[in-house]
């Protein structure tokens, strides 16, 4: 995907110069390998800082909330779905955003790359479907497919659903992916085993809220965890408080989550936080035949009442 960089720069420069947008939101190279960081370019002369490769996993839709200017944004499939969600939820208007669509072939999971080598990594280079990892005293090449983020490995919407311009032709959409294998595995457990599965899953949680901060859906001015009057959830790392946080965070994403993986990517202790949202995502698909952020024309299922809504759980 490195070849997209030139095209992104070209588009960014053009739309900044002709005044289509006031700023362009994209990525620049981070200070360490595999950590590209979001960057806002306002000056056409500075578009050279923009880059694109497989380390752009951060969801840029997160930075559009409440902007008043016209803004160009580089968006992968999942970012574009979150932009749609923002527009539906009135966080930004369609006219305000100029979407530079990026057909995505998946993002690299830095933990998987680090795990595949021994020492400190100084450079990670992409060569087509291969990834070259360099360190002080080693050099190895792995298949990109082996180091993809979990959510990218099962992605079925790699192409932007909404775009004003696209940097390349759409990539092939993977067919018959089994998106919910892990969810079904948990569903098959008995209640106590399920409880223990999640207890184990979140046992490392330090309540840093990085998952919330990275999530484009979490834009409330005051998050429920930060409220003190009333205090909805305890602020300690008591397992019950931690679980309450994770459950409520997930519920707030119900019918909105695009499985972009920003939460999991941001987690400093590597908790698979998507296990919570994925169950809701699966339910939304099964109960309402709904996938978030695919269209601007339909209200989300939790937003509207329909007579045929499933109600079997109500006695």
């Amino acid at each position: 995907m490195i070849e997209y960089t030139a095209k992104i720069r070209e588009i960014a420069e053009r739309i900044l110069r002709d005044g289509t947008v006031d700023a362009v939101l994209g990525f620049r190279r981070g200070s360490i390998p595999m950590m590209n960081e979001p960057c806002l370019v306002k000056d056409p002369a500075q578009v050279q800082t923009l880059v694109w490769d497989s380390n752009c996993g951060i969801n840029l839709a997160n930075y559009l909330i409440g902007r008043k200017d016209k803004i160009g944004v580089v968006a992968k499939g999942c970012d574009s779905r979150n932009i749609v969600t923002h527009i539906i939820e009135n966080q930004i208007t369609r006219e305000q955003v100029y979407v530079i669509g990026v057909p995505c072939t998946g993002m690299i999971d830095k933990r998987k790359v680090s795990g595949s080598t021994g020492g400190e990594i100084t450079e990670v280079l992409e060569e087509g479907t291969r990834v070259k990892i360099k360190g002080a005293d080693f050099e190895t090449t792995v298949d990109k497919a082996d180091v993809l983020q979990d959510n990218c490995a099962i992605c079925v919407h790699p192409n932007p659903v909404l775009h004003d311009e696209r940097v390349a032709e759409p990539v092939p959409v993977p067919q018959d992916k089994d998106r919910y294998e892990d969810v079904r595995k948990v569903e098959a457990l008995d209640p106590q085993a399920k409880w223990e599965y999640f207890e184990d899953l979140i046992s490392g949680c330090i309540r840093c809220y990085a998952c919330r901060n990275a999530c484009p859906l979490c834009y409330c001015p005051t998050c429920f965890v930060d409220e003190s009057k009333p205090q909805w959830v305890g602020k300690s790392i008591d397992p019950v408080d931690t679980r309450t946080f994770h459950l409520l965070r997930a519920y707030h994403c119900a019918g909105r989550c695009t499985d972009c993986g920003a939460c999991e990517r941001a987690c400093p202790v590597g908790i698979k936080v998507r296990q919570f949202t994925k169950k809701l995502e699966k339910d939304c698909r099964e109960l309402y035949n709904w996938e978030a952020g695919l269209t601007l024309d339909v209200r989300p299922p939790l937003d509207v009442y329909r007579p045929e809504d499933p109600g079997d759980f109500i006695k």
Binding site: V240, R243, F276
Partner: protein
């Protein structure tokens, strides 16, 4: 809501939803009896119980 809570390990039968109008007193009684019976059958909750710090 019920689905994820039960997915995360709350026993089916511990969480109930119902819609009872203020005019449906008999339904209310029926629902309360049902909920009580279902929860009693499960016994005391073992999960999601926060232990308060013990002070001397």
């Amino acid at each position: 809501m019920k689905n994820l809570l039960e997915h995360s390990g709350i026993e089916p039968g511990r969480l109930h939803f119902s819609w009872v109008s203020s005019a449906e007193s008999t339904k209310f009684v029926k629902v309360v009896h049902e909920v009580c019976a279902a929860v009693k059958a499960l016994g005391p909750a073992r999960n999601f119980v926060k232990k308060m710090a013990e002070v001397a």
